[in-house]
Amino acid sequence: MKRELSLDDIESLAVGAWILGTGGGGNPYLPLLNMRLLYRQGHRVHLIDSNELADDALVGTVAGMGAPLIGQERLNDSLTLARAVTLMERHLGRKFDALMSMEIGGSNGIRPFMAAAHLDLPVVDSDTMGRAYPELQMTSVAVGDLSGYPVSLVDVRGFESVVHKVPSWKWAERVARKVCTEYGSTAATCQPPRTGAEVKEWGIHGTTTKAIAIGAAVREAQRKHTDPVAAILSVEPGKLLYKGKVIDVARRTTEGFLRGVVRFDGLDEYRGSAFTINFQNEWIVGSRDDQPVVMTPDLICVLDSVTGEAVGSETIRYGQRVTVIALPPTKIFLSPKGLQHVGPRAFGYDLDFRSVFSA
């Protein structure tokens, strides 16, 4: 059923998408600000379910690429995202029937709506990560061996590039990343087009609705001064893993990624127990008393214990009171092929994946 999103839904989406960002994905504040202004100007956006797509429908996947810090200076421009979509349409010689999100986690969870507001296209309630991940091959469509090209990249000054053909998703990531870097490390992109059938088979479904529900639960708890973490766990089948205080953050960049480890000291019933999380933009592996207890693709969400809002790996700092929860990943990532793409070894951790949700 096609439904119009209210601005309140989008406010909730911003809170929920940041939580599903699992530490990365960029804070959705600037995309949210764009949506507020677009709604004030009279624009509206609509959500549809994947099963409403005809098998031969064409779906454009919208994402911003680059360093969040650059976005803080150049801001985010909704028309530029729309141009990435129309460039892809020109390249394909065919119009899209709908848009979707590559990555529900973080700012990319909202960007398809920024383009959709200008293009009058509905947005499919599906994405290809169900969270945030740092690279293009870490998607359900890459696990499904769907085509990793073409990719369109535009910049606000009018630059337009298309990565027309590459042998693999990893190459798509490498070539597109080079173009993005030349643009000034920020680009609006339209990812490889998908048919309705592909979206239905390989999309991760209901994720925008999920992000809205999580955000709405947190915002309601904030209004009522009740426990926001409990509110999240009442709408999602998640697990509370730990409560504590940040006592150390070590960061370094390697190969263009922000890697590091955060150490926590337990509070309340976790007093006396130590917790660490290793990250590569996103939270990757969490260990309690030096034993790995939670790892990708399970979603590791670090939340501000008071507000329930997400805490990101770029901004987490000493002394913050946080609660760590896990949310279940899409089944697509639990297959051997899925784990090759996004399991702990894909991030350099020699661990056999074990979900906190497997009994």
Binding site: L30, N76, D77
Partner: protein, 516 residues
């Protein structure tokens, strides 16, 4: 060194005289509606014993909440022309786009966006469209706007476009007061621009207030330069404070913490500042408050300022006390009688039971009339103190960044609420003149310089050293003596997704005010 420190608070205007590192005299006077009368009164009271007679004063340092109150209360603000250099980027989020509508309506004189700005590595994003800047300036002039806020993409890395645009605007509007966002540092265009626009909105108020401060000092017969204390515990010369009033937004709390460090002789400790209504808890690192790392909202506007990281709770000397009854358990605060304590407290003949009444009943304080609170039994008072201690303990634990026990300095008029022993605290330190710690902090303030920018293809050590050089030069330009400079903050943040070895480095140095 002989300095006078003045803190203009919501209730009292405190003044201290410090000579060769010692507090010679500390006084309090009620804060006046016009601010300057309170300063005159406190200076008169400070000098009433003749301590200022025939003495050369090296500086008068004033901490004031005047500027932040103007923003919060939406008064005395100037209409601002916003000029952003960054087109075609950022067009969908124009200046003032995330301001509360009531404040935007007061301040927004007009918005102009033209091509310009840089990239993260210093390359040009777009050449500056000088003709468009000149045309914008003409329109500003026609609209009668004289206060201008200029922002450009990545201007903290290269302020060239903002400076050039300021020149061009000055040619068309010679008496324009211009704020460049690069003077306010920090990466994050909207937040930096917001800080610049707030600063521009305070142009007239800053000019008038600082002139009034200078007059109050002169009228008191003191011949000394005026300094205004800033959010980070340092001072700016009057001329710079007039240009950048937003830097003085949160100086009150900072001054208390700096004063606590000075009076106790400790540079690394927790500080609890118990006022009449609220208690602020913060942490001293190298004698300065630890700074908040995140976005700070001022009057509803998101900004990035150097602000101390503080936790405020509703506990103070005027806090309402509700004794345990059928209606509920014992409760202290958050409501307070505030400056009406001397009228409304029970010990003073009023009807509201406050924490001060409890202290009077137990003999901790000798104030008011102890007979009026004689009905409060010792066990009850003990429970109230225990509740206040519990609230303080929780706040301290929240703000601690290390697991072990740390020393705690208790200052402020309500410091009597802090017991000698608290869990998680190695030692509670009460200091002489602790009730005027804020004015002491103002009197001892130093000068700072900061660098926050991205370095590429340098080793970590090289990047840190380059940043340090820039910060040192800025501190000297702000009036510090080079030989006294010390680095008090240094952090580096590798940047995800940027090519090469990009690292964002932030260094802050401080030094003593150079002898005039």
């Amino acid at each position: 060194m002989r300095r006078i420190g003045i803190d203009v608070g919501g209730t009292n205007t405190d003044a201290v005289l410090i000579e060769e590192g010692k507090v010679v005299r500390a006084v309090k006077a009620p804060t006046s509606e016009d601010v300057t009368t309170g300063i005159l009164d406190s200076l008169k009271s400070l000098g009433s014993t003749g301590v200022l007679q025939g003495k050369k004063i090296d500086g008068v340092m004033i901490g004031t909440t005047h500027f932040i109150n103007a923003v919060v209360q939406r008064r005395s603000l100037t209409k601002v022309a916003a000029l952003r250099l960054g087109m075609p980027a950022s067009a969908s989020l124009p200046p003032f786009c995330d301001w509360p509508e009531d404040l935007a309506a007061l301040v927004r004189g007009g918005v102009w966006m033209v091509e310009g700005g840089h990239e993260y590595d210093g390359r040009l994003f777009m050449p500056l469209d000088e003709a468009a800047v000149t045309k914008a300036a003409g329109e500003m002039k026609a609209a009668g706007l004289k206060s201008v806020g200029i922002s450009a993409i990545f201007s903290p890395l290269d302020p060239g476009h903002e400076r050039r645009a300021a020149e061009l605007v000055s040619k068309i509007i010679p008496d324009a007061v211009i704020t460049c966002s690069s003077d306010l540092g920090r990466i994050g265009l909207l937040e930096r621009e917001n800080a610049g626009l707030l600063n521009a909105a305070l142009a007239d108020l800053a000019r008038d207030t600082i002139a009034a401060f200078e007059k109050a000092i002169a009228d008191s017969g003191i011949a000394a330069p005026l300094f205004i204390t800033q959010n980070d515990g340092t001072v700016a010369e009057a001329a710079q404070a007039r240009r950048l009033p937003v830097y003085s937004f949160a100086s009150g709390a900072t001054n208390s913490m700096r004063g606590a460090a000075y009076l106790s002789g400790l540079s690394d400790a927790m500080v609890i500042d118990v006022g009449g209504t609220t208690t602020d808890v913060g942490q001293l690192k190298h004698g300065f408050p630890r700074e908040a790392n995140s976005v700070v909202k001022v009057g509803g506007v998101r900004t990035l300022f150097r602000m101390p990281d503080l936790l405020s709770i509703g506990l103070g000397g005027g806090s309402h006390v509700q004794l345990a009854s059928e209606q509920g358990p014992l409760k202290v605060g958050p409501v307070s009688v505030g400056y009406r304590l001397l009228k409304e407290g029970i010990a003073f003949g009023g009807k509201q039971l406050t924490t001060t009444d409890i202290a009077v009943a137990t003999g901790v304080l000798e104030l008011g009339d102890q007979k009026k609170v004689a009905h409060l039994d010792a066990a009850t008072c003990k429970r109230v103190f225990a509740e206040a201690a519990r609230m303080a303990e929780e706040a301290i634990d929240r703000m601690k960044t290390e697991a072990g026990d740390v020393p705690l300095i208790a200052v402020g008029g309500g410091a009597f609420l802090i017991p000698e022993k608290l869990p998680g605290v190695s030692k509670v330190i009460h200091v002489e003149h602790g009730d005027c710690a804020n004015a002491v902090g103002a009197a001892i303030a130093q000068v700072s310089g900061e660098c926050d920018q991205i370095f590429k293809d340098l080793s970590r050590a090289e990047a840190l050293s380059a940043a340090q050089g820039i910060a040192n030069d800025r501190a000297v330009a702000a009036g510090a003596a080079r030989a006294s400079l010390a680095t008090i903050e240094s952090e580096d943040m590798p940047l995800a997704y940027l090519p090469g070895n990009s690292v964002r480095v932030r260094v802050r140095v401080v030094g003593d005010v150079a002898a005039g």
